[in-house]
């Protein structure tokens, strides 16, 4: 049997960096509660795992696991038709799955909040994440989604709070990109 090829990049990517406990997902959850978010649609995602856990444990938030992100666009529209606020959690690759469904948001001027954890940018190990990750921002703008970005943990809660106010106050579509640097390096070899 051949020795497995030693992959230096994989080993480097696997080295965890010392990181302080940011707590930004917990702060983000506090914002969702304060802003009366009642439905949270998501495709499971490592960057959002803590927030998903908090939402699932909350009796007043309905957590809706989706098979693909575009389902969430319909979910959020339906929630708003009934008078509830929803947010969607997804990874950058999921933005590509939403493109045609965003015509529902635009035609009807539905409010929409997408919280997107970024892949394919800072210190990405997997090149398959890059083609979609690198076009998330222009793709969203082409669909008339307003885009803001949080690069540091202490900016997340404020940025998302402002995005939620913009979306539901003016019935607008808004995305907040949570930078890959914020999420941290993915550990590839355990």
């Amino acid at each position: 049997m051949r020795e497995p090829t030693w992959d230096k990049e994989a080993e480097v990517a696997a080295t965890p960096l010392p990181r302080s406990e940011t707590g930004w997902p917990d702060q983000l959850f506090g914002v969702l509660k304060a802003k009366d978010i009642r439905q949270v649609g998501y495709v499971p995602d490592a960057g959002h795992s803590r927030l998903i856990e908090l939402c699932a444990a909350d009796a007043d938030i309905r957590d809706v696991v989706l098979t693909t992100e575009e389902e969430g666009i319909g979910l959020a529209a339906g929630a708003w038709l009934g008078g509830q606020r929803a947010v969607l959690l997804m990874q950058s690759s999921g933005v590509g799955n939403c493109i045609n469904m965003l015509s529902l948001t635009k035609n009807c001027r539905f409010p929409l909040v997408m919280l997107v954890t970024m892949r394919g940018e800072w210190a990405e190990f997997n090149p398959w994440q890059v083609p979609m990750g690198s076009i998330v921002e222009p793709a969203l703008r082409l669909c008339d989604v307003l885009v803001s970005r949080a690069d540091h943990a202490d900016a997340v809660a404020d940025t998302v709070e402002a995005a939620i106010e913009l979306a539901f106050g003016g019935e607008l579509a808004v995305a907040v990109l949570l930078s890959q640097r914020l999420i941290g390096r993915k550990v590839w070899v355990k």
Binding site: R62, T67, E70, E71, L75, G78, W80, L81, N107, R109
Partner: protein, 194 residues
């Protein structure tokens, strides 16, 4: 197999006040509009594959209403994953009614997957929806019509209809107007001023 306009009229002619309807694009929209426009109808003219999810979001938001999604086999097939998502949530006030003629009627009557082995009623059952009706005869249609005002668990109905193209009845296609009037009709426009 049933005539689509006869079927939709039997289902909706005496709709209850608490029923909200989301339609999938194309013929299902024209069919629902043919029974008469209603401020609790929300018609999709696009967003193919999204009807069941709009219905799910509404049903979860408003347990005091019954939500019926009326769509076609092609539209349902494009959002097949949403049946799995509905199967996880299973709101008691959501019905999904698929008018299944086995063809893509709007694009030239090309056969859809349901002309082959794909069975949407079996798919719904496999996704965890246990109240599933397979409607092909008038008495089964009457049973579905009788269930609509009072069903108390997630309902899926496949209604087998003949592939034809009755005259189109076009509701407004202004999405903002459809949204605003629906929200007013169900009182969703109150309480968002703060």
């Amino acid at each position: 197999m049933l005539d689509r306009r006869t079927a939709i009229t039997a289902l909706l002619a005496h709709r209850s006040r608490d029923l909200a309807i989301i339609t999938g694009l194309g013929s299902a929209t024209w069919d629902v509009a043919s029974v008469g426009d209603h401020d609790r109808n929300f018609y999709l003219w696009g967003a193919m594959g999204g009807a069941a999810m709009v219905g799910l979001g509404l049903a979860l938001a408003r347990p005091d209403l019954r939500t019926a999604v009326v769509t076609g086999d092609g539209e349902m097939l494009m959002g097949l994953g949403s049946l799995a998502t509905v199967g996880v949530q299973r709101p008691a006030n959501l019905a999904i009614i698929v008018l299944d003629n086995g063809v893509y009627g709007e694009t030239g009557m090309q056969p859809s997957h349901t002309r082959h082995a794909v069975d949407l009623a079996a798919t719904a059952r496999a996704c965890g929806i246990d109240l599933v009706l397979d409607v092909a005869e008038p008495d089964e249609l009457q049973r579905l019509a009788a269930l609509l005002p009072g069903f108390d668990r997630t309902l899926f109905a496949r209604v087998r209809i003949t592939p034809d193209e009755p005259p189109r009845v076009l509701p407004t296609r202004d999405g903002v107007e459809l949204k605003l009037r629906f929200r007013r009709a169900v009182g969703a426009d109150r309480g968002e001023a703060s």
